[in-house]
Symmetry: C2
Subunit: 480 residues, 2 copies
């Protein structure tokens, strides 16, 4: 373990966070909110400590490997959250520090689960910071650092791999710094486009910014108590479309920019993603149509809900907790599936699902035709046995963590819907669940133990298990 | 596909079933129940058709392979059930044939889920047949055939493998017929021992027989409406112990008979099985102790319930549906885990769980120590990569089938506890679930679609997926 290098990266993360805290500080200045000064104190402290860490630990040897990458990312995210929660508690707007940490982890991990009974009681600068944490967490704080910092010798790949969602990170271009820049450019362009479309529809600037941050990161923190219910149909439709867009693998946009349309057309994950979206909308619409004034209205709200749940955003226009069990079960499945790899969405990812299904089908095929071998393909190319084995391991570990979390949260004694969906909603970075934690509920009633478990679930889900789990292995901490 | 050989085996299964139907016929004679004559008509018909099938299809080539073994077993079980249900409906005691088929599938698969609102309304010969189907299905009807029939050239292994639970069937002795005989001898010996212990405690003969059949097959059909609630503590304790015993891999008893104590001591599955049992009893007792008059009383009922759920029997002395969520979640996990491979119990089996956990742990270990390889061991011997891959495939297919079933059953619109636990209780061959299908409920209210899905789930669970799934593959039915 190159501990000096990890300390150096952690210092850089603190410094980066302090720079980003300038934005809520500006918001506080615009809206003349005195609680906003806590952002100043926090960012000064973070900058001081972060700078000191970088100076003291400046490593001679900058080499890091997979293990260091995983540890740096998980510790970095924990550090980000512990510091990011400070303004909430220091200002007294979220009195319990545990609640504030839950809230900001929910922000950075783009979950959107809230412990706030009434979000409209927060000051605007706090709301801004809360929504902005989605935007930051969506593409990844370390990816951002890679885009601006110059890490020698291509070490960045280990950080990028550890922070980016999906079974395999394709290097888009040979240089890692360039890949990060491309990712952030696409991200920024889509963000600006959404803000413009909101403004055209007449949404106030503050709302446009916060709602776009929540959409872009597929986070789902709303700034209104009724989430998206009171926005216009136009604004809701823009949101439906952009949630879907941010759930797509960003390399698709890169291919589009490079005019490689055949790669987009052959993309297995994109096909499955769209097929799942349209199937779910169709099935649920048939199931809930009688509850809406017209079929068109039903499609509007179902499309919004499916887009929101599948991309793990979590905005709501309709209280899907009141829908029939069949629709609720589909929504729970969508929560687990999640969005595409390489997007800002959570869940186990569509590409993993496709690989799992294809490998299960190949297994059955082998029973009927014992002497043939069925090759699994993605994007028209064969998938290596190694990758299939990795995806199956991921699914196995994913399930074990989910079941363990459900067991711990069940100690609180809430009903099965609440317990299971609270875990699924945080673990898959969605936000709202069903029952007590449904679209009109929140997470404030859980015990401290459950809040800690659910916070860890959010981090486990966002960082895709291994960076967090490696912290728990004794072998990680041994000195050579 | 050797179709003639499959037809021949199916004929033999019918003939075997007709012989076993003599027992409820005798019960009807003893208790002078005229509805019992329907067993006579059914067995005569089955014998006639079965004998004709064997004569007509007498195959020149008796060679069968894995595929034929799987197909013969799954079709055989479906045939057994369709015929076994006839007396219920012909006699009018279960008017709906679909319900009767559900009930007898639940019997043969040793599930114990019932569509009967009040079981005490059935005549004694019907109750006897219902309980006896557990005993037959527990060890396997085809295993029985192997023990008495003489299949040339060791072809039996494919049938035995397809019908026996667990990731790998160890040939205990070189000859398959002898293995089957040993299995059935141990099974019979334990059965007789339990009947004797019941009789010593003063349980009536009819109750002793039926309750032993239900325990031996880990089935759980009770002959009283309150299951085991009104039996004495002694009778309940005998049941607790024998449920546990029938959930153990039968090769353990074979080792004990051969005085190979070191093999018993080193057995990984047995250790995990006992560890899970005692951990679950401890955790649940702590959780529910305040609901019972004394801790001793709590342990008594918790041990019974855990033994019943974990071995997938399904007898009840306490209504565990009223226990706190934490205990309910543990019970659902136990339902999924199930008993040992090579026992009469269901679930995914303790040995598969052990292999899954060990392989997940090895995966994490590899993250922290990338240059080392951790070998997975069972019973002190390394496990082949092939077996680990098979177990992971099984787990994957298992999950896909479970989720698909939940989706279909959710169409009925019952709550999450009911829907999920109904699928889990049938799929893992347990019997009672939670909510509407809890210990004091039953399955009668479900729609025809759900009853069909749950019936298939019982068969899928008992035959461990592949024999049933292969029927759905088009490749299976192609002529060469």
């Amino acid at each position: 373990m190159n501990r000096r290098m990890i300390a150096y990266i952690l210092g850089a993360i603190l410094l980066t966070e302090s720079v980003f805290m300038l934005l809520p500080l500006i918001a506080a200045a615009v809206y003349q909110e005195s609680t906003g000064f806590w952002f100043l104190w926090t960012l000064l402290g973070a900058a001081l400590v972060g700078g000191a860490m970088m100076l003291v630990s400046r490593p001679g040897n900058k080499t890091i490997y997979t293990k260091e990458g995983l540890v740096a990312v998980s510790l970095g995210w924990i550090e980000l959250s512990l510091v990011g929660a400070l303004p909430f508690t220091l200002s007294g707007e979220i009195p319990s520090y545990l609640d504030a940490v839950f809230e900001i982890i929910s922000g950075f991990t783009t979950t959107g689960s809230s412990i706030l009974p009434n979000v409209e009681e927060l000051s605007r600068c706090m709301l801004f910071w809360r929504s902005f944490s989605h935007w930051l967490g969506g593409m990844g704080v370390l990816v951002f650092m890679l885009a601006i910092l110059h890490l020698e010798g291509g070490q960045g790949i280990h950080l990028l791999r550890a922070e980016s969602p999906g079974p395999s990170v394709a290097k888009m271009v040979p240089r890692m710094t360039d890949s990060s820049k491309i990712l952030y450019s696409i991200y920024l362009a889509l963000t600006i486009l959404q803000i413009i479309l909101y403004r055209i529809g007449g949404m106030p600037l503050f709302d446009s910014l916060c709602n776009t941050f929540g959409t872009a990161g597929t986070g789902g923190f709303a700034i209104k108590a009724d989430s998206f219910n009171s926005y216009t149909a136009y604004e809701q439709t823009v949101t439906t479309v952009f949630m879907l867009l941010f759930g797509v693998n960003f390399s698709i946009y890169f291919f589009l920019l490079r005019r490689k349309f055949d790669l987009v057309y052959k993309n297995t994950e994109l096909r499955w993603y769209l097929a799942i979206f349209f199937s779910a909308v169709t099935l649920i619409t048939i199931n809930v149509a009688p509850m809406f004034p017209s079929v068109g209205n039903a499609i509007h709200h179902v499309a919004f809900s499916v887009s929101s749940v599948m991309t793990t955003t979590g905005y709501c226009t309709a209280n899907f907790d009141t829908w029939p069990e069949f629709s609720r079960v589909i929504l729970i499945f969508l929560m687990i599936i999640g969005a595409c790899a390489g997007s800002t969405g959570g869940g186990i990812k569509v590409s993993r699902l496709a690989i799992l299904f294809k490998s299960a089908h190949a297994e059955l095929h082998r029973l009927a035709h014992p002497n043939t071998i069925k090759v699994i393909t993605m994007d028209g190319k064969p998938v290596s046995r190694e990758l299939v084995a990795q995806v199956r391991s991921y699914f196995l570990v994913y399930t074990i963590v989910a079941l363990g979390s459900i067991l711990l949260v069940s100690l609180d004694g809430y009903d099965a819907s609440t317990t299971i969906s609270a875990v699924m909603a945080t673990y898959n970075n969605i936000g709202p669940g069903l029952g007590m934690v449904g679209p009109i509920g929140n997470f404030s009633a859980f015990s401290a133990l459950s809040k800690i478990v659910l916070s860890l679930d959010m981090l486990l889900g966002r960082l895709e298990l291994y960076p967090m789990l490696i912290l728990a292995l004794p072998g990680t901490w041994k000195r050579r």
